[in-house]
């Protein structure tokens, strides 16, 4: 049952990822990306990472994709500026190179001994366990993350506001 679900969501994720990079209109590729994030959230649930799956939906789909859609509408690209892809020769060898890279990666991964998953208790991926770890062992990254968000906020406002 779980393996069938995993293979279905994995296929949906890869298919939508390829659709994202091939569509001409950025709005359509943004919405394919939203579907890709949903199938990834489902794969995270299969990995019993419940809190991360919900964060994936809430932050990626609810915040980042909303911003991307706003910017796409803001820029209001007319057909001319959409710009076709790079000359086909470049595109072609890009795809070939990535294909070779993919085969190498898949081969490297095969070497990993297929150990059984460690049996994990019921509360594995939930908010309490993550919070306990986050606020005891990983306290410094947590505070630095707030500095990162501060700089992002100020940087974006400076960039976006017209200079008076």
């Amino acid at each position: 049952m779980e393996t069938m679900l995993f293979y279905f969501f994995a296929f949906v994720a890869v298919a939508t990822a390829l659709l994202v990079i091939t569509r001409r209109n950025p709005i359509h590729s943004a919405l394919w990306l939203v579907l890709c994030f949903f199938s990834l959230a489902a794969v995270y649930v299969l990995l019993s990472a419940h809190f991360i799956a919900i964060i994936q939906i809430m932050v990626y789909v609810g915040a980042i994709m909303v911003l991307v859609l706003f910017v796409i509408m803001l820029l209001n690209l007319s057909e001319k500026e959409l710009g076709d892809a790079k000359p086909t020769v470049l595109k072609f060898c890009g795809v070939i190179l990535s294909g070779i890279f993919m085969v190498l990666l898949a081969d490297g991964v095969k070497v990993l001994a297929p150990q059984a998953a460690v049996s994990v208790d019921e509360k594995f991926g939930t908010a309490e366990m993550l919070g306990r770890l986050l606020f005891t062992d990983y306290l410094l990254p947590f505070e630095i993350a707030s500095l990162l968000l501060l700089t992002a906020m100020i940087g974006a406002v400076v960039l976006a506001k017209k200079r008076r």
């Binding site: 359509h28 919405l31 419940h50 919900i54 939906i57 809430m58 789909v61 609810g62 706003f70």
Partner: protein, 370 residues
């Protein structure tokens, strides 16, 4: 529902391969029942909206169809059904058709995580409340898509404004719910409600636990009103200025989906308020009744729905009395009033819990006297 499945699976455990199929088919049946109940509720919601609006403005609401006009929503539904679905040529066809499905699916997907009574829970999610917040951000995608796809000035402007309003009011909602989580220490909707049971009946509800949670209930309620685009925050879909905002171009059953999604959203928002602040399906009289377990669950379900409909009645009351706010007033209210209040509220709740070691006002008052 979990107990029903366990009982069924054990009963039919001898034919094990079929039991999984049975489990799936049972879930499908329960799913369609939930969906039909949601649609029925949404229909009655539209009827209640016009009936209550009627008697607030001292006129009679719909009373032609059915005994007291009760079947009016069926008449509306059939009318929408038979209306022609106009898909304007200049429209982005794929997105135009997809947008109502996303908003409708998003508002219905949230019915799963609510806890209707002690044992009547569709999916007992450990992170129930957070799942509801995530689903409400999915509605924003549907709204933007509808606004962009209808390719007309009005709906694009309405879609952007509605999206900006829903998005910016999600922060005060997230923050005000936090102060309740500080008390209950769990995101599971069932446990939040069970933590409100205790000796003093009504006084156990979270709203009376400490003054900061009391304030955050009102922050939550105003932010929730804005989240579902209800007056006085319903500028994006006003009839007068933006000609029904982002669903201007929709007609027939597609328009019906947007309307049903809005009512689903109203139910969920008030159900969250009832679960977190007003004691969910807890009522002092019911708790110590020792009747049969199923009857008790039914009563608890009645209490939960009763409280939610009371809150919805309050929303409708506000809808028919208060005037509409301008866009900059709505944004000012969110970013410069609700947000700072919600922040200081959380710090206040944290301090209160630290100083009084997690005890609420009722316990402290009892301690004083005893």
């Amino acid at each position: 529902m979990q107990f029903a499945i366990q009982w069924l699976v054990d009963k039919f455990s001898f034919l094990s391969p079929i039991s999984i199929l049975l489990l799936i088919s049972l879930m499908f049946i329960v799913g369609t029942v939930v969906l039909l109940l949601a649609m029925l509720y949404e229909g009655l919601g539209t009827y209640a909206l016009r009936k209550i609006g009627g008697d607030i403005q001292v006129r009679i609401g719909p009373n032609r169809v059915g005994p007291v006009g009760l079947l009016q929503f069926l008449a509306d539904g059939v009318k929408l059904f038979l209306k022609e679905d106009i898909v304007p040529t200049v429209v982005d066809k794929k997105l135009f058709i997809l947008a109502p499905f996303i908003t409708f699916a998003a508002s219905c997907a949230a019915f799963v995580a609510l806890s209707y009574s002690d044992r009547l829970v569709i999916s007992n999610l450990n992170i129930g409340l957070f799942y509801l917040l995530a689903i409400s951000s999915l509605v924003v995608i549907g709204v933007i898509m509808a606004g962009w796809a209808s390719n007309s000035k009005w709906s694009l402007l309405g879609g952007m404004r509605a999206a900006a309003q829903i998005v910016s009011y999600e922060i005060p909602i997230g923050l005000s719910l936090l102060s309740v989580i500080l008390i209950t220490q769990s995101l599971n909707m069932g446990e939040i409600i069970r933590s409100q049971s205790g000796g003093w009946g009504i006084l156990n509800w979270h709203i009376f636990h400490n003054p900061f949670v009391f304030i955050s209930f009102f922050i939550y309620f105003t932010a929730a009103l804005a989240e579902v685009n209800q007056t006085p925050f319903d500028l994006p879909e006003t009839e007068s200025e933006l000609v029904a905002g982002y669903f201007t171009e929709y007609s027939g059953m597609r328009f019906g989906f947007f309307f049903m999604a809005e009512w689903g959203e109203i139910f969920i928002v008030s159900a969250i308020a009832v679960t977190l602040f007003l004691g969910g399906w807890q009522l002092p009289i019911i708790n110590n009744l020792d009747i049969h377990i199923y009857l008790k669950n039914l009563l608890q379900l009645g209490v939960f729905l009763g409280k939610t409909f009371l809150l919805i009645y309050l929303m409708l009351w506000i809808r028919w009395t208060l005037p509409r706010l301008r866009v900059d007033q709505i944004m000012y209210m969110c970013w410069k009033v609700l947000l700072p209040f919600a922040f200081f509220n959380i710090i206040g709740t944290g301090l209160w819990l630290l100083i009084f070691k997690g005890k609420g006002i009722p316990e402290l008052v009892i301690q004083l006297f005893s």
